[in-house]
Symmetry: C2
Amino acid sequence: MDEREALSRIADGLAHAGDDAAVVDGTVITTDMLHDRSDFPAGTTRYTAGWRSVGASLSDVAAMGAEATAAVAVYADAAFDPEALEAFIDGAVDVCEFVGGDYVGGDLDRHSEFTVATTAIGETDDPIRRSGASAGEAVCVTGTVGRSAAAVRLFERAASAGETEDAASDRERANELFRFPPRVEAGRRLRPHATAMMDSSDGLARSLHQLSEASDVGFAIDRSAVPVDPAVESVAVDAEDRWDLAAHFGEDFELVVTVPDEEFAVVNDRSPVPIRRIGSVVPAERGVTADGDPLADRGYTHGRTE
Amino acid sequence: MDEREALSRIADGLAHAGDDAAVVDGTVITTDMLHDRSDFPAGTTRYTAGWRSVGASLSDVAAMGAEATAAVAVYADAAFDPEALEAFIDGAVDVCEFVGGDYVGGDLDRHSEFTVATTAIGETDDPIRRSGASAGEAVCVTGTVGRSAAAVRLFERAASAGETEDAASDRERANELFRFPPRVEAGRRLRPHATAMMDSSDGLARSLHQLSEASDVGFAIDRSAVPVDPAVESVAVDAEDRWDLAAHFGEDFELVVTVPDEEFAVVNDRSPVPIRRIGSVVPAERGVTADGDPLADRGYTHGRTE
């Protein structure tokens, strides 16, 4: 039983599951766990860890088209290093400020491995779910994909290089890439137009498959339209690798959204971040394709691509 | 730096910390992490783990005098056992139902050790904080204390006995004791009268010290008035041990609450669970005492008494 099977098993039994966040009386709530072994490569600062882990939950709030109200975190480590803790909190506070929410604290715990559990809440009367897409609409993505994949490559390169100046610079750049901007404002502005939305945390390809399943549609993606992060270019070994990092690696936190085709121009104007039309929603029987070939439902699952 | 120092460090930098839950625009939010090594003794069923871990967050909502709206959990384990997961979810759903809230799912993760992070939210326009107690008031506790301490002793006894019938019966009783009733309804009914409130998760003694610090008062406790759970009697080796389990062990989830002395009779009538007056709020300079002797600020901190 892999994680997705287990998740769908959870979803079967619960009224509100199956989206990026649950909705209860207009409040959206979402929770995530990140930990050392798989989520924070060597070289990740605690400031970046705070930003990124709280940001991951805020991204789920964004994907519902909700305002972000507040976030909390449990911070668990084998020993308490006050400086590391303060850096983590600074990152958590800053990412909440970035989206207009409040970081309101949390809990501390001892754990064999550095582990963070974050929860964010938000408000919306009209949440956007994964299930509303229809054939004929446009499918779009905010910002760029492959950002986290590039960061992980840079962390790896820095780790194998040792304490050189280049390694320090790779590490700094990787931390910057890891501190993604949660798309709360974009989600809010897209909400009046979006028919289905989710974040790309499992990778663009897997997100499309999830939207496809929830909405009972297919997608015809134009590979050349996918906005690959420039950082990917500097780490990809060839074109296939570049596509893999952009479409399958995941752990990016962009919004994947469907909108009526005729509204794309307005959406493009309204979005506070670049938004790209990467293809069309098609009937379910056409499946999920990129440049006409089937796009594998393959993505990132907790620390490894599978 | 121990956990309490670290927590107060967190609190210094954040507007909303220092109570059982944070409050943002009438929504209370609280988060906790529990894990195998310290929180779930051998013999704890996954159903009990689900009830207890979600219940711990609901207890924090109760301590603010709020209605419990919803809870989420991250469930992390080294491998996914579908039966264990379903039992956990059943426990989580049942404890939410018990308090009139919704369990709305969460996330799954892989972790070296069984680890659960839970978050609960609730609503109240008038949260009860730890800081409102005044000398002359009554200090009270709901239900009984020592329940979890007795459970842990029973789990230990069962573990050392092996697979006997007595061990099975100890284990069953321990699981029952571990599935405490979160005092959400009691908290809600106490709210109009309570001047300060928190839950007893760190133990009665430490809770009193925390209320004492937040409200700048002392407490004069009458040991004989403390409602010790009957299960403690069957596991305590002597009177001193009995008091230790009841007052210091902690991990109970009763409400410790201060009310104006003259309102205690009304409070007692209104409370849906037995509530006992265990002493008086006194001026800060008199400190926290039990039968006139200083009551040590000693309790349970993550898996060990210290």
